[in-house]
Amino acid sequence: MQPKKAPADPNMPKELGKPLAPGTQVTRVRFSPDGKMLAAACFDGKIRRWDLNAKDPTELPLIAGHNGWVTGLAFAGNALFSTDSWGRLTASDITAKEPKLWTLEAAHDGWARTVALAPVDSPIATCGKDGFVRIWDRANGKKINEFETKTDILSVCFKADGKSVFAGDLFGIVREFEVASGKVTRTLEAKELHRLERIQDVGGVKNLLLAGDGKTLFVAGAEPKTGGFVQCTPLLFAFDVASGKRLSQYKGANDTEGYVTDMVWHKDGFVAFTTSGQPGQGKFHFWKPGAATTFFSGGKLPNCHSVALSPDGTMIAVSATNANSSGNGRVKGAGGDYPENTSPIQLWTVPKV
């Protein structure tokens, strides 16, 4: 007699259909503001999109034109802003057949790390390995201001009033820049996120996120233990925006879990985030600020690199990595070829919290 299957826990996320298959690795996934489209920034310099209106997600024409990796995605209405690792910033109209609105080939000298939106009708911000945060007019790509730190800036987000930006760097420093003046108004320290291992600077502020009410800033990466292989334990700090004080933190259980690769704020008061993990590990998690641990950690697919939340808060998309993605020497695929790894994207329900 077969054992009786336990009923699904309504408080846990449930998989929605089969994973989407972009056929390459993915750095970022994001939903459009109306929730009808999912976009993925890919290692092959392309943006893949899926129409979520249909019963099953349908792939839409891809957006080409980027070089290296597409690194950042941000939607604003019908406009999709994207950055790449060669320094390009592009605005695309997702409803148009020829989607390009404007593009800046050298928004940064090399690796543009990400793009962030200010509140409605305000500018966008990008940051890069070149040490700059740049503020752009989202309508035409005109540069409004720029700030230099001379350190690799990995993450950026606007403050709720749009008058300043937070920028997190390789060394665990978060600087707040005033958009109008370009002055640094304060710094927040999260130096646990950086380690000098031999001659390698490891870690940094991989992600910044503002809570929905704008009162809490989440600063995330990992506590690195080594360089090279990069053993590290996920580490996420919650800072009080008003005072700059640390409110709480989440630290993973061990140094095989990797760093926090992406995070989003859910209106029910929790952070959904993904972790990179050692090969075969890495999950997505839900964490309520102040809690000692996550209230959900899971996902069947390992090595997660991005998480997106649908606008109504009912669905998340997680990009992960195929199984057996690592190996020394010539690891062959089923057909005897030398396969590229891919990032399956799984959609999940979000439970009521």
């Binding site: 390789l170 990069v230 760093y259 030398y338």
Partner: protein, 425 residues
């Protein structure tokens, strides 16, 4: 008294007692007092700088970029000073000096593990004849000799601890081992303490020599030789102790090379080469970037690029590139495939080695990989072929010169392999 054929590890630790012995080995020092003779000897030098990037540097983020290909990664290629040759944007300084460099992009070796690969590469992977071949440093120390420097012929500048590393010498015997300078510093307690007068020190050394006779009577000949050799090296180094004080060098030099381990060690290497050391190996650890590889490369590669380029520039400015063969190598490259931890794993299948200087053609690339970087397109070069290349660059014909191992003739490089002619001047 029974002879004890074995050494203990402490027998080979290089301490002040070990070092402050014989003043022998200063052959040629009087001749060097004549500037003309010294200049002529300098011109005849044959030297090697061997930069070892332990763990394996990615060929795709250095010498053989594959931009906008499935495995190309995030970085841009940049044009070098040689038309048609591009390298990674992480090597901007090397790009400026490409006119001095030669890159072999078709290296294909046998081991994808560190434990086997490090030895196999540095020993040249010859045919198995049941003997342990010497590392390249020991081989060059034997084949070229100590030259006119009055310094040990094989010095290894490395992070962490130092000492006398006799295992590098293989069947050549311990005296061709490496003198390792831990963190680029002379061995611990090398200098005579201030509280000790020179006369007192001489008396101590006389006593040591007496005791050493007993020591020698209990050891195998080659180990006794190695022991005496360590004393000689100590005495040699003590006479050149100023070499280790980098603080007196112009700040500009220190800035150009960098203040991190690899920068400081490369600057010391330059000083050792200037002083005439035959073979200087500089090791940098931590290149095994299985995880978060691209951020790792963004941090690590510039720390190789700057001091390596500064070294090439300085050797060229001093006219030393005619004498010094420069090699940048590792035990393998890194996989084209990017794993789930955004790392690259071990890849001996198709990787790159860079070289410059004595006997090497300037501004060339030899060999190529396919569009994705997953295979050597034609004529793969194993490490045996590179040993042929390097020996020939030093003026040693591997088809003519052999080692003698207790009467057993042994080829100095894999006899079924050949030099990469495209990079030989």
């Amino acid at each position: 008294m029974p002879r004890n054929p074995l050494c203990t590890p402490t027998d080979h630790r290089v301490t002040r007692r070990r070092f402050l012995g014989s003043a022998a080995g200063a052959v040629g020092l009087s001749a060097l007092a004549n500037p003309l003779v010294a200049e002529e000897l300098k011109k005849q030098r044959r030297q090697v700088l061997f930069v070892w990037l332990d763990g394996g540097m990615s060929q795709l983020e250095s010498w053989d970029p594959k931009p906008n290909s499935p495995f190309g990664g995030p970085f841009r290629p940049i044009q070098t000073t040689v038309p048609g040759i591009q390298i990674s944007e992480l090597f901007p300084q090397c790009a400026k000096l490409m006119k001095h460099l030669a890159i072999v992009r078709s290296v294909s070796t046998q081991d994808n593990s560190h434990s086997a690969g490090v030895d196999r590469i540095q020993r040249g992977d010859p045919k198995n004849r049941g003997v342990t071949y010497p590392f390249l440093g020991s081989a060059v120390a034997k084949l070229v000799g100590p030259g006119d420097s009055g310094l040990p012929p094989y010095i290894w500048v490395k992070p962490m601890s130092g000492g006398f590393i006799y295992k590098d010498a293989g069947f050549l015997g311990p005296k061709y081992g490496a003198l390792a300078l831990g963190d680029g510093k002379p061995p611990e307690n090398l200098l005579r303490p201030n509280a000790l007068t020179a006369e007192e020190d001489d008396e101590r050394n006389d006593l040591r020599k007496l005791l050493d006779k007993n020591y020698a009577a209990q050891r195998r000949t080659e180990l006794t030789e190695a022991n005496s050799h360590a004393y000689e090296m100590a005495a040699q180094l003590q006479k050149k102790i100023e070499l280790f004080d980098l603080s007196k060098l112009p700040q500009k030099d220190q800035d150009r090379y960098g203040t991190h381990d690899l920068g400081r060690h490369m600057l010391l290497a330059r000083r050792l080469l200037e002083a005439g050391v035959t073979f200087v190996k500089v090791t940098s650890y931590g290149w095994d970037t299985h995880g978060d590889h691209f951020n790792g490369a963004a941090s690590l590669h510039p720390k190789f690029d700057r001091p390596f380029a500064a070294m090439i520039e300085d050797l060229a400015d001093r006219g030393m590139l005619d004498n010094v063969l420069v090699i940048a190598c590792a035990e393998f490259g890194r996989t084209p495939r990017i794993n789930g931890h955004i790392g690259r794993d071990h890849w001996p299948e198709a990787w790159s080695v860079a070289m410059a200087g004595r006997g090497i053609k300037k501004g060339v690339v030899a060999g190529k990989t396919n569009d994705k970087g997953t295979d050597v397109a034609n004529d793969p070069v194993d490490i045996g072929g590179l040993f042929h290349t390097w020996f020939r660059a030093l003026g040693i014909d591997p088809t003519d010169v052999q080692y003698g191992n207790a009467g057993q003739p042994l080829p100095i490089a894999h006899e079924e392999m050949k030099a990469v002619k495209e990079v030989l001047a």
